[in-house]
């Protein structure tokens, strides 16, 4: 007598097969044996601001949003553009109209299909003054048609240049030609939002009990300032390719505690406490990692009317830039693989060739000799020493660099420099209102293209705190927007900057972290460090 129905028996066999195959799971491409526990735990130095794609404004929040939601395009491990919700796009010759084709199998975590309308809603929401998004300026740099009027409330959000031609076709109209527009759709603020959930749950829609998302993971737990958990989304269109089951982000405010907990195996990825990279690289050569980042560190002269007369003389600016020994700062103070900077744009930026600017080619001795010469020409010397104030925002790291620079200027140029630190928001206010002589500055690229840095030094830029203004730079940058390959313009702008020296480039950032050796798939070559957890996996030890 057979008590077991056939289908059930088959089920048992299948289940047995499935479970045994889990234990022996291997990576489909590399063939590595996968760890049983596919939970990735990492730390955040601070609580993220939000997981609402149109609201999030910090990097750690954007990392989570990138897991929870998926935009039109994604990046691969090298930072190249690959299809996301869109399978591809076409553009017109003028590159001011883009048409994205959306895949038909993309789904929200509640089972609704992801359509072009979800993107239209999200982009309108980003620009809508009622949303009051701190990141709505991103819609502005995307140059969407009518974005200015929508943001100011003079036009309805419906006037924005984005239309769903049908469920799977999205048309975007721009006010100017943007060759790199598609790359901008990897930015978290362009990710879709589920209108029906936002409407019913209001501000609470991003809470784990309400949130609906279309990415590889869903948010299952969030305890503010302690932990957040995202787990794989079984309805994600490419879920079969996801290996990590669960990603846990712990908030650890202190980098030393963070590192201790990493050593105690509570974290798969942890922080390198500042100044300790060299030591950790020796002790943990396979875990301590340093990679170039799309960020620069510079000092900006106040060239506005409120700035000191001395800085209006280009020779003074050049002398100060020449006198700094960047190697001391990167190799003796920071010690984490930072790169000496002689250009504003980091060399790691896509399509940017670092031009051989003159002061970058000299030896430090030559630079110092040149610095003395320039300052003497400008009329400063022992009887008439240059004196000014350098301000930076309160931080041990900035303080060390400021003291080193002060010492270098004193030794090489005999300059009397006073240092002043200000708490972050006070500092921003002072710098933004040109209430300084020389100020610290730093900038991280919003996208992997030189204009994200160089636009900063154009006259109309709202971030140009030093008020540098050069007609040639302005026109080169304006032209660059419509060029297929603008690298020659960027090179020329860097050459102008090296001559005019409105800012002193100090170094280009390096990112450092500790990563357990069994975590694979980390996109080291993606300079923007746009991480997609679905590409990570843990191998058996």
């Amino acid at each position: 007598m057979n008590y077991l129905p056939k289908s059930l028996a088959t089920g048992f066999v299948l289940a047995l097969f499935a479970s045994s195959s889990v234990f022996a799971a291997t990576h489909p491409v590399t063939g590595e044996t996968l760890a049983e526990d596919q939970t990735f735990t990492y730390s955040l130095l601070d609580e993220f601001t939000s997981v609402d794609p149109q609201i999030v404004e910090d990097v750690s929040g954007a990392d989570i949003v990138r897991d929870l939601f998926e935009g039109l395009m994604n990046q691969d491990a090298d930072g190249n553009l690959v299809p996301g919700v869109a399978t591809g796009y076409t553009t017109n010759d003028a590159k001011d109209v883009y048409t994205f084709t959306l895949r038909d199998n993309a789904m929200w975590s509640d089972g609704n299909p992801v359509t072009a309308h979800d993107f239209v809603y999200a982009w309108r929401r980003l620009a809508d003054p009622a949303t009051a998004s701190p990141y709505s300026w991103f819609a502005e740099i995307m140059a969407l048609e009518n974005v200015g009027d929508v943001m100011s409330g003079d036009a309805a959000p419906e006037a924005l240049g984005v239309t769903a031609l049908d469920n799977h076709t999205l048309e975007v109209r721009l006010t100017s030609s943007l060759p790199y527009f598609a790359a901008m759709t990897t930015h978290s603020s362009t990710f879709p939002s589920p209108e029906w959930i936002v409407r019913t749950s209001g501000n609470d829609w991003t809470k784990p009990e309400n949130i609906v998302s279309n990415g590889a993971y869903v948010l299952t737990e969030h305890i503010p300032n302690e932990r957040s958990v995202r787990e794989r989304n079984s309805l994600y269109w490419n879920n079969d390719a996801t290996i990590l089951e669960k990603v846990v982000a712990l908030v650890i405010n202190d980098e030393n505690v963070d590192f201790t907990r990493y050593l105690a195996n509570e974290l798969d990825k942890g922080t390198v406490p500042s100044g300790q990279y060299i030591r950790l690289k020796q002790d943990y050569p396979d875990e301590a990692t340093s990679f170039p980042r799309l960020c620069n560190y510079y000092m900006t002269f106040n060239l506005s009317d409120s700035g000191p007369e001395a800085f209006k003389d280009v020779r003074v600016r050049q002398a100060l830039a020449h006198a700094i020994d960047r190697s001391v700062i990167t190799e003796k103070i920071l010690q984490a693989g930072q790169i000496n900077a002689f250009t504003f744009t980091p060399g790691a930026t896509a399509g940017f060739e670092v031009p051989p600017v003159a002061f970058g080619q000299m030896s430090q001795d030559e630079r110092e000799a040149k610095a003395k010469e320039l300052l003497a020409e400008a009329g400063y010397g022992a009887d008439n020493p240059l004196s000014f104030e350098y301000i930076y925002n309160t931080s041990e790291g900035h303080k060390k660099i400021a003291i080193a620079a002060q010492q270098m200027w004193k030794e090489v140029l005999g300059a009397e420099v006073t240092l002043a630190n200000q708490e972050w928001k006070t500092f921003l206010k002072t710098r933004g209102a040109q209430g300084f002589e020389l100020a610290r500055g730093a900038w991280c690229g919003d996208y992997n293209e030189a204009s994200t840095f160089l636009d900063l030094l154009t006259s109309p830029s709202g971030y140009n705190d030093g008020k540098f203004s050069n007609a040639e730079v302005d026109s080169l940058m304006l032209d660059a927007r419509t060029m297929d390959d603008a690298s020659s313009n960027y090179t020329r702008v860097e050459e102008i900057l090296a001559n005019e020296m409105p800012v002193i480039p100090i170094y280009h950032y390096a990112g450092v972290f500790m990563l357990k050796t069994n975590v694979k798939g980390w996109p080291y070559n993606n300079v923007e460090q746009n991480i997609y957890s679905r590409n990570l996996y843990k191998v058996a030890k």
């Binding site: 601070d46 609580e47 601001t49 939000s50 997981v51 609402d52 609201i55 404004e57 003054p129 009622a130 009051a132 998004s133 701190p134 709505s136 300026w137 502005e140 200015g148 943001m151 100011s152 409330g153 501000n203 609470d204 829609w205 991003t206 809470k207 305890i223 503010p224 300032n225 302690e226 932990r227 712990l250 908030v251 650890i252 405010n253 202190d254 030393n256 505690v257 201790t260 907990r261 050593l263 105690a264 509570e266 708490e423 972050w424 928001k425 006070t426 921003l428 206010k429 002072t430 933004g432 730093a442 709202g462 971030y463």
Partner: protein, 307 residues
């Protein structure tokens, strides 16, 4: 007594209002605002955001709106930094955490501090006294920002007994290190206050009389020494308790507890006005409440004090 309590509450309300007004003004006097960032927002965007939160109105009106929200709806407003949370939610989550580790730290500080001080006083100038005094001075000079990482290295990294941080609903293994780190300096103060006040009591005439009557040491200690020597300790405990339960930013930072202290300090840096005000009001209110309770306890212990 009832009249005294009513009178104290009568004073508490204007005190709290003055606290609110001064904090509100100071907060807005600090340069920058909640939406000042390295990437200055386009003026239009900033205007939209400020209008949404009512920050475009004059300060006095903002304060009235804020107060009326609290009084009529017990609504402390939205957080400007954490957009999906209200101040009520932040305090509602953070305060119980702080309260829990603060309360246990208080118990630990009293539980260890008072016996330590008492033993030192009774065995004055013996090795026990020296040890107790040594321990308490050691505990006091070791700040908790040194203590906390040390505890984590010992208990998490070396011994692997306790998790290095987190809260996990406040289960005991997550509570041990925060409580040790937070309570030691309070414990040390309590031990030293207890010791010196007890020595004073032990030298009084009525203790000498009790001894000469031939009363057993235990009876003298528990009936005649303990209660009067705790008076200075009680007056210390009032503010200490408030200090413990209103949060320690260092504990929150080192042990990732998610308590209120970190939100408070962070709110100041972020210019998250509503969070800062909300926590100020809670801390201010508690300070007033517990100093009242300490005063009442004082009267209960010391018969010479009558309100």
């Amino acid at each position: 007594m009832i009249n005294y309590i009513i009178k104290r509450i009568g004073i508490a309300i204007p005190t709290l209002l003055i606290l609110i007004a001064v904090s509100f003004y100071l907060m807005h006097a600090a340069p920058g605002g909640p939406f000042t960032s390295e990437r200055p927002l386009p003026p239009q965007v900033l205007a939209n955001i400020e209008a949404k939160y009512g920050l475009d109105q004059p300060i006095w009106r903002q304060m009235i709106n804020y107060l009326s929200g609290i009084i009529t709806e017990f609504d402390f407003g939205p957080s400007y930094k954490y957009h999906d949370r209200t101040v009520n939610e932040i305090i509602g989550r953070g305060f119980p955490i702080t309260l829990k580790y603060g309360f246990w730290s208080f118990i630990a500080a009293i539980g260890v501090g008072i016996p330590l001080g008492a033993i030192a006083a009774i065995r004055k100038n013996t090795w026990i006294d020296y040890l107790a005094v040594g321990v308490s001075i050691g505990a006091q000079v070791l700040p908790n920002f040194v203590m906390a990482p040390l505890l984590i290295i010992v208990f998490t990294l070396w011994l692997d007994w306790l998790p290095g941080g987190g809260w996990n609903g406040g289960s005991w293994e997550y509570l041990v290190m925060p409580v040790i780190a937070l309570s030691t300096s309070y414990m040390a103060s309590i031990a030293r206050i207890t010791r010196s006040s007890m020595l004073e009591v032990l030298n009084t005439n009525y203790i000498r009389t009790a001894k000469s009557k031939g009363l057993p040491t235990k009876v003298i200690f528990f009936r005649h020494v303990l209660k009067p020597s705790l008076l200075p300790v009680i007056s210390y405990l009032g503010p200490a308790f408030v200090g413990l339960i209103t949060g320690s930013v260092l504990i929150d930072i080192y042990f990732s507890t998610g308590g209120m202290g970190y939100f408070f300090v962070n709110a100041a840096f972020n210019r998250d006005y509503s969070v800062m005000m909300g926590i100020t009001i809670v801390v201010g209110g508690l300070t007033i409440l517990f100093s009242l309770i300490a005063d009442l306890l004082y009267a209960w212990i010391d018969p010479k004090i009558r309100y």
